[in-house]
Symmetry: D2
Amino acid sequence: MRQRRIGLWLIGACGSVSGAACLGLAAWSRGLIPTTGLVSTLPSFQHLDLDPPDAFVVGGHEVRQADLLTPVMELHTRSRVFEPALIDACRSDLQAWSAHLRPGILYRPNAAVQALSNRPDVRRLRHPLEAFLAIQADLRDFQNRLALEQVIVVNAASTEPPFQPDDRHQSWDVLRRALEHEADLPLPTSSLYACAALDCGFPYVNLTPSRGASLPALEELACLRRVPHAGQDLKTGETLLKSVLAPLFARRHLRVLSWVGHNILGNRDGWILNDPENKASKVKSKDALLAELLGYKPQSLVSIEYVESLDDWKTAWDHIHFEGFLGTKMTLQFIWQGCDSLLAAPLVLDLVRLVALAQRCGEAGALPWLASFFKNPLAATTHDFTYQFALLEQWAARHQSRSS
Amino acid sequence: MRQRRIGLWLIGACGSVSGAACLGLAAWSRGLIPTTGLVSTLPSFQHLDLDPPDAFVVGGHEVRQADLLTPVMELHTRSRVFEPALIDACRSDLQAWSAHLRPGILYRPNAAVQALSNRPDVRRLRHPLEAFLAIQADLRDFQNRLALEQVIVVNAASTEPPFQPDDRHQSWDVLRRALEHEADLPLPTSSLYACAALDCGFPYVNLTPSRGASLPALEELACLRRVPHAGQDLKTGETLLKSVLAPLFARRHLRVLSWVGHNILGNRDGWILNDPENKASKVKSKDALLAELLGYKPQSLVSIEYVESLDDWKTAWDHIHFEGFLGTKMTLQFIWQGCDSLLAAPLVLDLVRLVALAQRCGEAGALPWLASFFKNPLAATTHDFTYQFALLEQWAARHQSRSS
Amino acid sequence: MRQRRIGLWLIGACGSVSGAACLGLAAWSRGLIPTTGLVSTLPSFQHLDLDPPDAFVVGGHEVRQADLLTPVMELHTRSRVFEPALIDACRSDLQAWSAHLRPGILYRPNAAVQALSNRPDVRRLRHPLEAFLAIQADLRDFQNRLALEQVIVVNAASTEPPFQPDDRHQSWDVLRRALEHEADLPLPTSSLYACAALDCGFPYVNLTPSRGASLPALEELACLRRVPHAGQDLKTGETLLKSVLAPLFARRHLRVLSWVGHNILGNRDGWILNDPENKASKVKSKDALLAELLGYKPQSLVSIEYVESLDDWKTAWDHIHFEGFLGTKMTLQFIWQGCDSLLAAPLVLDLVRLVALAQRCGEAGALPWLASFFKNPLAATTHDFTYQFALLEQWAARHQSRSS
Amino acid sequence: MRQRRIGLWLIGACGSVSGAACLGLAAWSRGLIPTTGLVSTLPSFQHLDLDPPDAFVVGGHEVRQADLLTPVMELHTRSRVFEPALIDACRSDLQAWSAHLRPGILYRPNAAVQALSNRPDVRRLRHPLEAFLAIQADLRDFQNRLALEQVIVVNAASTEPPFQPDDRHQSWDVLRRALEHEADLPLPTSSLYACAALDCGFPYVNLTPSRGASLPALEELACLRRVPHAGQDLKTGETLLKSVLAPLFARRHLRVLSWVGHNILGNRDGWILNDPENKASKVKSKDALLAELLGYKPQSLVSIEYVESLDDWKTAWDHIHFEGFLGTKMTLQFIWQGCDSLLAAPLVLDLVRLVALAQRCGEAGALPWLASFFKNPLAATTHDFTYQFALLEQWAARHQSRSS
């Protein structure tokens, strides 16, 4: 039987998460690396009909002057990761995929994104319909030229400022009309891309805290077109730890008095988050889960700051002050030093494989069983990582029994 | 309906865990403290027929010259915990309970325990049967004089050296005969106490890594006498964190390369553990769970050291080195600063309440659903804290439906 | 020979630094405590003619409804410091001194200080001369009624916002005229107090980053009146460490790439600093020394945040990223957990004793040999703590030889 | 004027410190790197007649099967340091110098060193005189063949167990006779090498805690032959920090109650130190300075443990518990993450340059002004880093004025 060919379309294709994911995909295809970091290769998921790495072809949008090798070399040089031999071995794949890149589309970008967009052929469009159609043309062309069975669209672009939806974003019917008729319609670029993808029947995965498909109108569209989507904001470091530590405090009836988290990092993600407008989305996403997990709201502080010398090595210090028996105050502190892009990259591949399978199984709308991947999971009912992961295992177990 | 009266018999009654538990019990009875730290007061357990704090009467064995106020004052002065007003308000209870203390019984103690035993009327017995009968006499006298419905025996004594069982410890029949006929029978003091308690029909809870009831012969005895027991080694700090963090690494397919844990503390527990013989039991108990939780054995180091100035404030530094995607090495470190006795004390009260209820429900032998309380849980199948806690919640849920 | 009597006049007398200093002074007088924490009792300073603790009488200004016992009890209850017996033993002194307190004087206070000032008899004055004279009246009355040889005025009040001096603050002549004639003259309260003190011939010590006596006009006044003064901003924790660690990096030719410092605390100082206006002074004072000590300006971040549960226990996390040989990046992190008021309090007593002696020796103006006490030392040429301390030891050595 | 040619003879030439020093020397000669990490290039030392990097020719002894590229590649691959381009550019130097390597000489080695010595032509000698003469032959041959003005011998070999000298090690006369006549004379290999070097008139630098030239007989020999020497045990991480932090506590009169330091590392140094015999020397060297710096002996613990995954990245956690004013206990913790060999390597080059100059200036015996480089400095009177560094600067200042 012929192998399926799946398109992986990356918005923000030359960012470091995308670059690391592409290098990893190429290296994994060639059998050059162990599967460490890839959740979907754990024993619980081994018998699912997940696509092998060589099923995937990469394309994407990008606003900066770069190709897929750019972030890889930058990570290697600045953050001292990857063996040079591995890069060499994968170079031809990265070059071949780079040929599928298209200039990004800017719709009402804020200043920080403007500053970043140095690709001369980037498309600055004022009418949302124009932008929407341009995106769809790129996506469909990618599918047709490469004869792809499925295309999964992944938002790996910079974090946008928070967005307050209004009546126009509550139903697809209303939003579609606004798209067609309203120049300068307030709509985040991420949602415009999500809209274009879902309308084509392409699943959408949102790695960032940007709005993406998390608007009622887009959920409706996803269900109409029978397309699954997933998001939002990958959970890779400090928040991941929160999602196992906060339940521990709750179960031991230890009262968290304050939870302070300071994050420092020096990659482009950090640079964009240094803009207070963009940072607001992230901080909110990192902070929200405590109240749900603890059942009350302790004093909490979250900061993210750009420290250039750290490059991709995100360092987080968390100070958790809690009260135990007889009013005794105690402290837990942790320091997390992780290479941010390399924590995120394997999860991108996991999500693409799982969402592609979900689409083939006929699932549509936000997928709640992917909650363990995200800081702010769509359609999910808990932030407790262990229970989120159990959902994923249960889905896998159910799916296996159905497929056997 | 008259309230039940339950005896709480503490072996090592004047140690700091016992002292803090007694102060807490008195303060809780009088409504002076919130229930923070008490697991059994969480909503999941609210509808169980658990005994209120004023149902309990305390007694116990002790080898040192002290009463129940001694550890309380020592903790207050040296570790700066407890409000003086709280101690004053509870003083009369602690004094009343101190009248029930009995001199401890020493059977083949090692040098560190010998050094500790400064109570002049401590009973040094050479024949195990003599010791066994002396313990039972004390326990029965406690029950009879105070007209107690149940007595729960709790081992809060200093950690013993590891013990290697032989054929004599495999069945109750053989052990019983050896007890009767063999002077100097190799048997840890903790197991002798456990044996005496279970044979009287009194549940036994082991807070320490000492052997206690964890010998096949004693499990058989517990089942014969229809008595439940629980253990071993309370999980209060570093190991508690391991039991949520190790599963996180496993579920994210991050490979733990090394896990180093250094513990420093300055209380009597720390002093006893400074003896290499006694420390061995503890280190083993703290280290074992990693391999089970990860599915492989990373390099690991655990140390516990006596640092006098810290008193009861145990500080643990853990350094976890792990490998992510594409062979990238990353680090998580945590620092735990907890008041050891005050982390343990509420769990003692939880266990006593839960075990008392279990006995009334007819359960016998080691209770696997108490696994979340222990570093080395008896009859348990997992070290994953979240799953251990789910067992407790499920037991509570099942029990409620039966009792309603 | 009759013992000298020296007045210690505290502005912000019921703050926690003042309270701890007063308790310490009383306890030291009574021989109840070791001299740990008091720099001036080290062997290098033993033969100086420094005043013994019982030479001092305390008075002060305060805007809040409180006496000297208030901060002591608050520290005891909230931050779990001080033995109750010690407080009892010193209670009569604190009460006696409280009788010397006077309602504070507010001149152009900002909102945060306004919010704090709940004492009904606080004096809100609009004309600087009125305020100036009211302060002097209080100070002189204190001296006269108690027949004090010297009065040392100490600014322990809340940190003020940064102040930009203009031409009026450059010479005493101009400033004096402005004081007399210009209602609403821009002048920080701390400088108004400093002015009043120096003009009376009373030395002034500034524990805070507020302007105080650090204006050219006030330096001129101090020299005119032959009065010494010292400041500013006590160096007690994170910055103290910076002042020995930064020189270490410089001397080993290790290049500091970034220095990030996050401070969290929960006392009134922290609450006031939560106001961005006030915080600005502090952050500047904490950050300035790096460039001087290293010889270049690395990226640096300093934050101070109010975390209520910490009370007086200030916690600082510093992350220092540096480059060594062959471009290798390495990291030093430190975590400081100190009781802020108890780090500052003994330094207050040291400064008062040293400044009183300096006045008797005829020194005037800012005292550069007190640099080791301050984050932003007046008239000092280095931030290197070891060299600053050597200045103090040299002064002591010189002074001894002269006095013998 | 023709440039001087200086020999740098490394004992343990293929260890990672040696390898990093050689790579650095080559790279610096070629102008490929900044001088970061090299103390002797700081402004204070710029006008000294120190030899430029291209004055040096490397040779050495080694017991393992390796050349100078071996440790460089191992560091690069395992610890992710050095740019590949840098290694390539320096490869020819490392190869050329490798031709000067000679098989190491083993005299009474312990088991751990035996296990390491896999070079087939290593010379295992039983009579000390035989070993002494073999070393001298190699050193003289190196000097003569390459026409070197000076040869500096550096001990970069693995740490030896502690050695207890006796009467034979107190004077050169006695030791010389024992060397000649006593087979199996107790004498550490490091001292045998030191003896051979000094007797040839070659300065000796001891980077390790091994005995080396620190025996009275060898000090006498150095003075007789007019040769300088320096040692011992490079101060690169945790102890370096101790030497600025302990004086800080002393100067602020804060009482250190306990100082706990845990070091973990995964290089060969760590592997050798895992042998308890060898570790003893190191721990002693790391621990001794506290009592001198503080003026009393706090409780202290130092551990060094081999954690393979860390490779050359030594991580130290130090927990310092101290008492401030009014008996308040506070805590400072630091975490040091440094690449051990790259901290040591530039200091090797500094020492060689400084010692070569000292010899030309006619200095002989242990050089006290090099104290700032060592954990256990010979002939030094203080462990306070700032004062040690001042000695170096004063020497430089004096020397400049003499040379101008």
